[in-house]
């Protein structure tokens, strides 16, 4: 009978140190992410009022069934999808364009990076408050646009029209985050070896061909990263919509899921139903992330 001899290889030692280094983050995530997720999942199975001291009633999947039948919930899904698509796609395209523009500059690269990035430093609430002032009927929004379009006295109803209010929320988000994603693209662009472009130049490739056949394919991991982060950010949008409705905008066009969750929990005190909604949002986000990761693994890039 052969006796199993324990092996203390370098790999195992490394793995042990790996676990030690990862442990604080794991504990942090367990406390502040995993626990709330499981707690929300558990709470979503109960009829629980935020202020009640009585034990909540177990109602199984009733909260989910209610939501799937609720026109308000489906309106929130619509508002979230419209906002996400309307913001995520331009964010992805324009942040790439801005990154290429900045990288192509010989001078003022730092200035442009700071200029684009600065709105990302602001809190979402401050950004929304600034834009609320701009979107006031007597504010800068109407004044600027009327000056550019030579249309004095036109109220563009930034917050006072169901289509415009959706566009306004997208504009604020785009303004706030485009610089952030531009910086990520700049990092991605900088990591592409110059030797590839030099080789292409010898082969007679022009700038356009360089972009389509070198930059874009080699930028795929960055594009996937930006698309995942920006899509998740868009799905979680809250402060802009919240402050705009406080500022007088109609609720229904911009009642995104997070805002509906907030109203259901804080205004209506129905924490069980709000938890069910947040679990649905979590599943949607998980699904999108999985799909994007899956597609990114299809052909990984190595230089």
């Amino acid at each position: 009978m052969s006796k199993r001899i324990p092996t203390y290889s370098i790999e195992r030692k490394k793995a042990r140190w790996g676990w030690i280094f990862v442990a604080p983050t794991l504990i942090f995530f367990s406390l502040f992410s995993f626990y709330p997720i499981f707690n929300a999942l558990y709470t979503s199975l109960f009829k629980k009022k935020l202020l009640s001291l009585k034990p909540p009633d177990f109602i199984g999947l009733d909260n989910y069934i209610y939501l799937l039948k609720s026109p308000d919930f489906w309106n929130s899904m619509r508002a979230t999808v419209v906002f996400t698509l309307g913001t995520f796609v331009p964010l992805l395209i324009f942040s790439l364009i801005f990154a290429i523009f900045i990288m192509s500059r010989k001078r003022f690269q730092n200035f442009f990076q700071i200029a684009y990035y600065s709105p990302a430093v602001l809190s979402s609430v401050v950004a929304a408050v600034i834009w609320l002032l701009i979107f006031d009927p007597r504010g800068l929004g109407n004044q600027w646009l009327n000056l550019i379009m030579n249309s004095p006295g036109i109220d563009h109803k930034w917050l006072a029209n169901s289509i415009m209010v959706q566009m306004s929320t997208m504009l604020v988000y785009f303004w706030k985050y485009v610089g952030y994603f531009t910086i990520i693209f700049i990092v991605g662009l900088a990591s592409i070896p110059q030797s590839i472009y030099e080789a292409a130049k010898i082969d007679g490739a022009n700038d356009w061909k360089n972009f389509w056949y070198i930059t874009l394919p080699l930028l795929k991991p960055t594009t996937i990263l930006v698309s995942i982060i920006s899509m998740l950010q868009c799905l979680r949008t809250f402060s802009t919509q919240y402050l705009f409705t406080q500022g007088g905008a109609p609720l229904a066009p911009i009642n995104v899921i997070t805002l509906n969750i907030y109203h259901t929990a804080i205004r209506d005190h129905r924490i069980g139903r709000a938890s069910a909604m947040s679990i649905i949002l979590f599943v949607i986000m998980l699904l999108f992330t999985w799909v994007q990761f899956k597609s990114s693994r299809a052909d990984e890039i190595s230089y």
Binding site: L50, L51, L53, P137, N142, D155, N161, L251
Partner: protein, 424 residues
């Protein structure tokens, strides 16, 4: 040595226990009001001097944020000892049994009945639940219309004669006062207070014969015709109709105080006088403003002014008994200065004594407020009143801004409010 150590330990523990019993910290969360802060900070100092070992921590927040702060704090069982909000927001705390009933002895009254006797009839009813009293009023408020005489004259109107008595006249007068640069309103005649519909817009529906909830409490949005007329009126008021105002403009009462020739009238309470005085003393002393009653529709079937509402001081029922008693003692101490609250903050604490006092009667236009209050009723309050109010807000904004027809908005409103009632 061992004995000595035991005695020392015993004395140390005893002194710690005695100190712990004597030291009480009372947390007091309230909405921002600079005029109140000034006098209440003084009351805190006086109370702390008279009650050694007691510390009062007063924390202020905006009137919208405070609702969320208190709710989340209570949900986490970390609510303050004392707080105040409008009764529509406070009532859920009463029915969910999160509050301590008024300790009449700690508050310095010989009996509970003595408290009811000290206040004007009915004013404590919203804070009474299952025979227990859960709040003492910081203020009782109703809204009338404040009018800028200069703006009226500038529009060629005589403020004393041409002020609007009906909502139809309000439309006419506002149209005359309005100055537009194309579609953009540079000066408004009047505008509503959009988030506060239970106080000011439900009474307009009642004037037309409608009701929010039926008398048996089972049916929501009674009398479709009245609600339809009201929603139609609001649609006409908005930017897609006669373009007289909109929730997206800066709120009317903020502009009114500045007297910048951009707001003719606004809807607010007696307390606004204190705010005009502190924001713009020249305007306050100019005599160029006046107060008129809440208008009614020409074909009104009922004379209903804006509903009155109370802000009640309430005490957290989850705090230790001694905190509760001290909290009620402090609340009663603050409320023992109704004349100072009226003179410096312009808020009315509705005691029988104050309402009959010369101080109240000599307040500018207090008679207009008293007359309207006598005709009015208390605001609708219930566990879900905040939710109902936001459904009404949604309906109004949808017809004014989102292009929804009054018929469709009414259908949605009816469905949503009925669901609130059915769910309980």
């Amino acid at each position: 040595m061992k004995k000595l150590f035991t005695i020392f330990l015993f004395v140390l523990l005893l002194s710690m226990t005695v100190n712990a019993a004597a030291d009480i910290e009372i947390t007091f969360w309230t909405h921002e009001d600079p005029n109140r802060t000034e006098i209440e900070n003084r009351y805190i100092e006086e109370f702390e001097q008279a009650n050694p070992g007691v510390t009062i921590k007063r924390v202020t927040s905006g009137s919208t944020e405070i609702r969320e702060l208190i709710l989340t704090a209570f949900a986490a069982k970390k609510g303050p000892d004392i707080f105040n909000m409008s009764i529509e927001d406070e009532y859920a705390y009463i029915v969910n049994e999160r509050l301590a009933s008024v300790d009449f002895e700690a508050a310095g009254y010989p009996s509970l009945q003595a408290i009811y006797d000290a206040y004007i009839s009915g004013v404590l009813d919203p804070a009474t639940y299952k025979g227990q009293l859960y709040g003492l009023p910081l203020e009782l408020t109703n809204w009338c219309i404040y009018l800028n005489k200069k703006v009226f004259r500038d529009a060629g109107l005589d403020p004393e004669k041409d002020y609007p008595k009906t909502w139809e006249e309000m439309v006419e007068v506002s149209d005359k006062i309005a100055i537009r640069e194309g579609e953009i309103l540079q000066r408004r005649g009047f505008d509503f207070r959009y988030p506060y519909h239970l106080v000011s817009t439900v009474p307009m529906v009642e004037q037309l014969g409608g009701k929010l909830i039926s008398d048996d409490g089972k049916t929501a949005i009674v009398n479709d015709e009245a609600w339809f007329k009201f929603l139609k009126f609001m649609q006409e008021w908005g930017p897609s109709g006669k373009n007289l105002g909109s929730p997206t403009y800066t709120n009317a009462r903020k502009l009114f105080n500045k007297d910048n020739n951009d707001m003719g009238m606004c809807l607010t309470g007696l307390y606004q006088q204190g705010r005009i005085r502190s924001d713009n003393p020249d305007f306050y002393n100019s005599g160029e403003w006046m107060v008129i009653p809440f208008p009614k529709f020409e074909n009104a079937v009922k004379d209903v002014p804006a509903a009155y509402y109370g802000h009640y001081y309430m005490v957290n029922g989850q705090k230790p008994k001694e905190n509760q008693q001290m909290a009620w003692k402090f609340v009663a101490y603050m409320l023992s200065h109704p004349e100072e609250y009226l003179a410096k903050v312009n808020i009315v604490q509705p005691t029988v004594e104050l309402m009959n006092s010369e101080t109240y009667k000599s307040m500018p236009y207090s008679g207009v407020f008293t007359d309207d209050m006598a005709k009015g009723h208390v605001v609708y309050y219930g566990e879900n009143s905040a939710k109902i109010q936001s459904h009404i807000e949604e309906a109004i904004k949808s017809v004014m801004l989102a292009g929804v027809s009054p018929e469709d908005a009414l259908k949605t409103l009816k469905r949503k409010v009925q669901e609130v009632l059915d769910e309980g």
